[in-house]
């Protein structure tokens, strides 16, 4: 049984899903770093069932990825398919994805993200355990010390997912885990800016403190601010990104 992130990545395709569509989806996830180098894919039978495709189609898709040296498959007990892609240009992949989004899409994603984050923060201020608060403080630190855009993207997403866990809400957690995948290209691009990483990390740190103090209003305010900071950076840069993608 795979994790929730994987269920989002491996969402069922419409009937007659073709191998190249499946391969394309997996390739995109690998390019963005959402599937990491060294990560093991679920067993073929399970993966095929999740994508709602036949095992034959899945095997074709995996063969395409093997031909592109993105995946290695070991047979036998304890074997499986493993991602092998240490040198992915995540910025390039992110640019390609973001260019498919209009300004309306970017705002809509940000609105949704803000709604989830604010409610999760408010509830977390009321319900967080000591373990939750410790995790929040730790995770805000990871955004500050991230060494590359991939780490920064993951640190940001996982902080908000931890806020949702602290709110004790399964639905808010699921929403933010889905967003981890959907918003990945945007976060990859905005976190090229180290100043932004530091400033959002500071906001996250204050948010962790507000949750620890049980201050619901302050927690909600800080969550909105942090999400808006990233959203504004994305909107401010989106034209540049589209130009960069077109030039390449």
């Amino acid at each position: 049984m795979s994790t929730l992130t994987r269920r989002v990545l491996f969402e069922p395709l419409a009937d007659n899903g073709r191998a190249d569509v499946v391969a394309g989806r997996l390739r995109k996830a690998i390019a963005l770093g959402v599937l990491a180098d060294g990560e093991q894919l679920p067993a073929e039978a399970e993966l095929a069932a999740q994508f709602n495709i036949s095992p034959v189609t899945l095997r074709e898709a995996l063969q395409q990825l093997r031909d592109q040296h993105l995946v290695t498959t070991r047979r036998g007990r304890g074997g499986g398919s493993v991602i092998t892609s240490p040198q992915q240009d995540q910025m390039r992949a992110a640019l390609d994805e973001v260019c498919l989004l209009t300004t309306l899409d970017l705002r809509d994603l940000a609105d949704w993200r803000r709604a989830l984050a604010v409610e999760a923060a408010r509830l977390a201020a009321r319900r967080a355990s000591r373990a939750n608060i410790g995790a929040l403080v730790r995770r805000s630190g990871r955004l500050a010390t991230a060494e590359d855009v991939g780490e920064a993207r993951r640190a940001d997403s996982r902080f908000l997912i931890e806020v949702a866990a602290a709110s004790q809400s399964v639905r808010l957690s699921k929403g933010l885990i889905e967003l981890q995948v959907e918003y990945a290209p945007v976060l990859t691009l905005v976190y090229g800016d180290k100043h932004l990483r530091r400033s959002v990390a500071d906001q996250f740190n204050e948010l962790a403190a507000a949750i620890g103090e049980g201050d619901q209003a302050e927690a909600a305010r800080l969550a909105a601010e942090a999400v808006s900071a990233v959203a504004s950076a994305a909107l401010a840069n989106s034209d540049t990104w589209r130009n960069d993608a077109a030039l390449a």
Partner: protein, 242 residues
Amino acid sequence: MPLSPSRAALAAVAEQIRVITVPVFAGLDTLTEATHSLVDTNDAGALASQAAREMLAPTATRLLENQRLIVGCGVAVAGNREGDDERPTMAWWVRRNGEISAKRHVFNPGSDSFYDIRQTTWFAEPRRTGKPVLLAPYVDSWGTDDLTMTACRPLSRDGIVVAVIAADLNARAYVSAVERILKDVGSPIALIDAEDRVIASVGLDLEAGARLLNIPEGKAMKRSPGVAAFGWRLARTLEKPG
């Protein structure tokens, strides 16, 4: 205004909660014994091997078949403590829609789904305290990705904790069972954990997880002595005079 519950009524509640909780730890005992014999005959590191998983599988499967309240169980191995590169790993089984299967978690730190068990309370606390723990409901991100309660205990060898044996409970079923027990008291009452957070309540506007100390009414509530040996207590509002 309903009468305050008698000491006898509170003791009865505590006993009923113990009754639903004790079998879980008895089940953990069987898994602990199976793991113990593996540790005795092997390197602790070998606990993570495929062969070890296959040896534990029958015990884990039986536990999942016999106790409906348990939805997942297994063993987490501490990994090599000497270097900085401590890489814990797990052998885990779940029962989902009646089917029992092995579950693989993601231990790649570079992964979006990385399940860092060193940061989870269910893994860290038994190692730290050397004692069994029962966690109040929490959202197990990257583990079950759901509301979970976990019963866990350490396994030591030569004074060092080499593994944590754990079982995930059906949190919804457990909380519902507690609510039924609390309802019989006939007056507003809550079961709270060692951090003063609500596990279940009836007759009170207090949701699961709410920290009593953050809530005006919560601070004034009277706490009873311990329930089920995990620092859990019962809490109720004080009767108004007049």
